[in-house]
């Protein structure tokens, strides 16, 4: 159970990214976070693993206060939270294998990892995770030789290396073609259903939310303006979230 309580984030330049955000996510949920660009989705996701320090509020994960964790504790928490990014965030010049193995860094010793040593099990696990996303034949290719969709699958394999109980996905398909978007979200759906991994995923397109999410929250100007089941978002709700000018568009 993840509880976000009265979360506030004010950036040093004065921007109020989050104003008193509270919600709960039960284990095994696929929660979609929707909202316009700049509504605070990315900030919210990054506050959960404290890539961004929240200004006020609490985040409790299984009754452990993430916001109060010290450096070493935070790293132990982070290693159980996989993260997937819009821009994939792979190290482009490193091989796919190295990128995937880097998901294991929170578990291995510093010295061993600094000289590039990973155990036989970790390597086998990396290959298995690459097979899971259908990229076992690309293991020793440099990451920048892959297409966007392939890079995002490497990103998923990297997150899987962490044995995550929770996955944060920040616009995972916003940089991809519609067809690829479905293939990526299907992987996330599979992980959610088969392994019971909780998924928090920010999305742009409403029909993707309808198709994959078990629940949705909507942010507007850093506030939660909707929380409920995906199909409950009617036209009135839609206008409230996206503004009066908005029109529904659909994706393949």
């Amino acid at each position: 159970m993840l509880k976000v309580q009265h979360l506030v984030k004010i950036y040093p330049n004065g921007t109020q990214a989050l104003r008193d955000v509270s919600f709960e996510v039960a284990d095994g949920e696929f929660l979609a976070i929707i909202g316009l660009s700049g509504s605070g989705k990315s900030t919210l996701l990054r506050c959960i693993n404290r890539l961004i320090e929240p200004t006020a509020g609490k985040i409790l994960w299984d009754d452990v206060d993430i916001t109060a964790a010290s450096g070493a504790e935070m790293r132990r928490i982070r290693r159980q939270i996989g993260m997937i990014f819009q821009q994939f965030n792979l190290v482009k010049r490193s091989s796919v294998m190295t990128n995937v193995l880097s998901g294991r860094l929170g578990y291995v010793g510093t010295v061993a990892s600094l000289v590039g040593h990973f155990s036989r099990e970790d390597r086998a696990r990396a290959l298995a995770n690459l097979a899971q996303v259908g990229l076992e034949d690309k293991a020793y290719v440099r990451a920048d030789a892959l297409s966007g969709g392939q890079q995002q699958r490497v990103g998923i394999a990297r997150a899987l290396m962490q044995n995550p109980r929770l996955i944060l996905a920040d616009e995972p398909v916003a940089s991809l073609d519609p067809v690829l978007a479905h293939s990526i979200l299907k992987y996330l759906e599979q992980l959610n259903r088969e392994r019971g991994i909780t998924v928090l995923c920010s999305l742009h397109f409403l029909d993707l939310v309808h198709r994959y999410a078990t629940r949705a929250i909507a942010l507007k100007d850093g506030q939660v303006v909707f929380s409920g089941l995906p199909h409950e978002i009617d036209d009135a709700q839609f206008k409230a979230i996206y503004g009066q000018e908005a029109e529904r568009v659909s994706i393949v």
Partner: protein, 682 residues
């Protein structure tokens, strides 16, 4: 809303602004919220005010007597500048565009007239003393490299002599001269070294014929070792000077600012000046040269490296942090893979620069070809000097080409489609052969330079005094006055040199631009000739040119200006021609399509594209020239270097410290100002 306008509730009237600007230059513009322009005008006005008065008092520049009043007519352009500033503010307030050029002209008149006088420009000497130059020029064309024996007497044998010998079929009589041996190397019988004996090639103590490398190879070794050492030191340091890394560490911000300041200060002091300090520590010799080169190079590389770290893609850093990795793991997996190609490229660039610096560091430190050159100049042995120059030119042109080629390959950074698991590094033949080559070069250079690390631990007794005096530098008014005077002369030298250099470089750069070269054979030859001229001139350090000009126009700042101008010409020529090559052909096509003639195409299609980069490069060159101008005094080129050398010679370290402080401040300020100005231009 800019903060300055927020101070006032209502918009200022043109008259108010005019009054403001008339009282304090720049304040009118500031009042209108044009902060940058206002500050620039204020600073310029203050500097001009100081310079006109300083020039009148110290050099009687522009002195005129009206009745009982003795003053300088340079106050006229200053007043005009003042008036222009008020008018500019007024025009801006009433929404008309001012004319920046007028203000620039007023300032330029004052600057150039002052510069001309303080650097003692005597153009007529270029003509009246041309016979002196001819002597040197003949020697330079005929370097002392070969000799021949006629009736038991060894004589130098230059090109004409070689040609004659070849015609007579007696080329075998022409042998490398003694000077050739000094510079490049000679074969000599020496006692077999331990390595040779160990390899079983000779008995212990048995004489073997070996190549004894000359000063040129010592110089190559100097540059190489200094580069290796500075890379080793600068790589770890650069992380402490990178903003994005230090912000992740508690207390990192303070470390960041301290590191950046130290790097900038150290970088501002030229290698040759560092050599002055280092010889007090380890004494004259190659060791001093290496340390001086390394110190400056660490600071330069540290800055470049840390900027590269700051420019990495933050995405992977975020991703690796999110996996629960600690700081070291983030550095190893997210930062290091991204910075390897730029680090390699910058290291190669630095190798090139260090090789150039290594040719002159011996002027002071007493090693490599620099020391040899000083000796030849002292003896007036120009044929020997010329041979050294040609040797240097060949080496540096080669180094330049290798470094540029290699950098290009690294930065292209192609992906290799490797499908199988790569072998670990220790099983790769390539890695081992590189490692072996590297070790051989390192050990070879170390032995060639006869380095002894123990010298580091035994500083000369005066070194303690040097450190103490540098902490308690002399800031008494008379010392300050002298140092201010010398540093201003240095700045003006750089200004004039850059101006001369760029004026000359502009026409030549058009000849050296590939896209403007016609298809005829002649124009292609002109292109290669211009390119070649830039490359050859660029390979020689300004200090070495100054030594020639001293002979031509006499010791003093004028010789320094000329030496710097040659370097500025070569560097700017290359940069200008590259700027021309980089222009967008679209506008040229469009202007041509309107039916414009060739001159009109240049005026409307080409000039607007090249003027901003030209100005930007010229400002950049002025910045570099100031740095170089701080050392030309060591070869008789005047400026602050001469003063520094004297203070060191007389062991007046507390005054030398003042000079170094001034150099650091001025060079760092100019560096900052030139970067800001160029940012605004481009």
């Amino acid at each position: 809303m800019p903060p300055t306008t927020a101070l006032f509730s209502c918009p200022p009237t043109p008259l108010q602004v005019l009054l403001c600007a008339a009282l304090v230059p720049g304040s009118g513009q500031l009042r209108l919220g044009r902060v940058w322009r206002g500050v620039l005008i204020f600073v310029t006005a203050a500097l001009l005010l100081f310079i006109v008065n300083w020039g009148l008092v110290n050099f009687e520049i522009g002195q005129i007597t009206i009745g009982s009043l003795t003053t300088s007519w340079l106050w006229v352009p200053l007043i005009l500048f003042w008036v222009w500033n008020a008018w500019d503010a007024y025009a801006a307030a009433s929404d008309r565009s001012g004319n920046t050029l007028l203000g620039v002209v007023c300032a330029a008149v004052i600057l150039y007239i002052t510069a001309w006088n303080v650097t003692d420009i005597k153009l007529e000497r270029l003509v009246t003393r041309f016979s002196d130059f001819r002597k040197v020029a003949v020697d330079i064309v005929n370097p002392d490299l070969f000799s021949t024996t006629v009736q038991g007497e060894t004589r130098p044998c230059s090109w004409g002599c070689i040609l004659a010998a070849a015609r007579a079929g007696r080329l075998a009589d022409v042998t490398p001269s003694e000077n050739f041996g000094d510079i490049i190397g000679r074969i000599r019988e020496v006692k077999a070294s331990g390595l040779i004996v160990g390899l079983g090639l000779a008995q212990p103590g048995q004489p073997v014929r070996m190549l004894v490398p000359g000063k040129l190879f010592e110089t190559i070794a100097l540059g190489l070792l200094a580069t290796i050492f500075s890379i080793i030191v600068a790589v770890p340091l650069s992380f402490f000077a990178a903003h994005n890394i230090m912000m992740r560490v508690r207390g990192g911000a303070a470390i960041y600012y301290v590191m950046r300041t130290i790097l900038n200060a150290v970088r501002a002091v030229d290698t040759v000046i560092w050599a002055l300090l280092v010889i007090v520590w380890v004494g004259l010799g190659n060791m001093a040269g290496i340390i001086a080169l390394t110190i400056h190079s660490v600071a330069a590389l540290g800055k470049l490296y840390s900027e590269e770290i700051e420019h990495i893609d933050p995405g992977p850093v975020e991703a690796i942090t999110a996996t629960g990795a600690n700081l070291f793991q983030v550095l190893r997996y997210a930062v290091v893979p991204q910075i390897i190609p730029p680090f390699l490229a910058y290291s190669l660039l630095r190798w090139d620069i260090n090789m150039r610096a290594a040719t002159v560091v011996g002027f002071v430190a007493g090693g490599g070809i620099g020391f040899f050159v000083v000796e030849t100049i002292r003896l007036g042995a120009y044929p020997q000097y010329a041979a050294a120059l040609w040797g240097i030119a060949v080496v540096i042109i080669l180094v330049d080409a290798i470094s540029a080629r290699w950098r290009e390959r690294i930065l292209r950074d192609q992906t290799q489609a490797e499908i199988t698991a790569p072998r670990p590094w220790y099983a790769s033949l390539r890695v081992w052969s590189y490692l072996l080559l590297f070790l051989a070069l390192f050990v070879g250079s170390w032995t060639l330079l006869k380095l002894d690390a123990r010298a580091l631990l035994e500083p000369a007794p005066t070194f303690g005094r040097l450190v103490r005096d540098f902490v308690t530098i002399d800031l008494s008014p008379d010392v300050l006055e002298i140092v201010t005077k010398e540093i201003l002369v240095t700045i003006f030298q750089a200004l004039l040199a850059t101006t001369f250099g760029s004026l000359l470089a502009i026409p030549f750069s058009f000849l050296a631009a590939k896209n403007l070269t016609g298809r005829s054979l002649l124009s292609r030859w002109i292109y290669y000739a211009a390119r070649g001229l830039f490359n050859v001139l660029r390979s020689i350090e300004a200090l070495l040119y100054v030594a020639i000009f001293v002979f031509w126009v006499g010791i003093g700042p004028f010789a320094g200006v000329l030496g710097l101008a040659v370097t500025a010409f070569a560097l700017l020529g290359k940069l200008f021609s590259e700027a021309i090559e980089n222009i967008d052909p679209g506008p040229i096509e469009a202007v041509t399509a309107t039916g414009a003639n060739r001159l009109q195409v240049i005026r409307y299609g080409i000039l607007p594209q090249i003027i901003p980069p030209f100005i930007s490069y010229a400002i950049y060159q002025w910045d570099i020239s100031i740095r170089m101008a701080t050392i030309i005094g060591f070869a008789g080129g005047g400026g602050i270097g001469l003063r520094l050398n004297n203070y060191f010679g007389m062991l007046q370290y507390h005054k030398a410290g003042t000079v170094v402080l001034f150099i650091v401040v001025v060079v760092a300020l100019m560096d900052f100002a030139s970067a800001k100005l160029r940012e605004r231009l481009v």
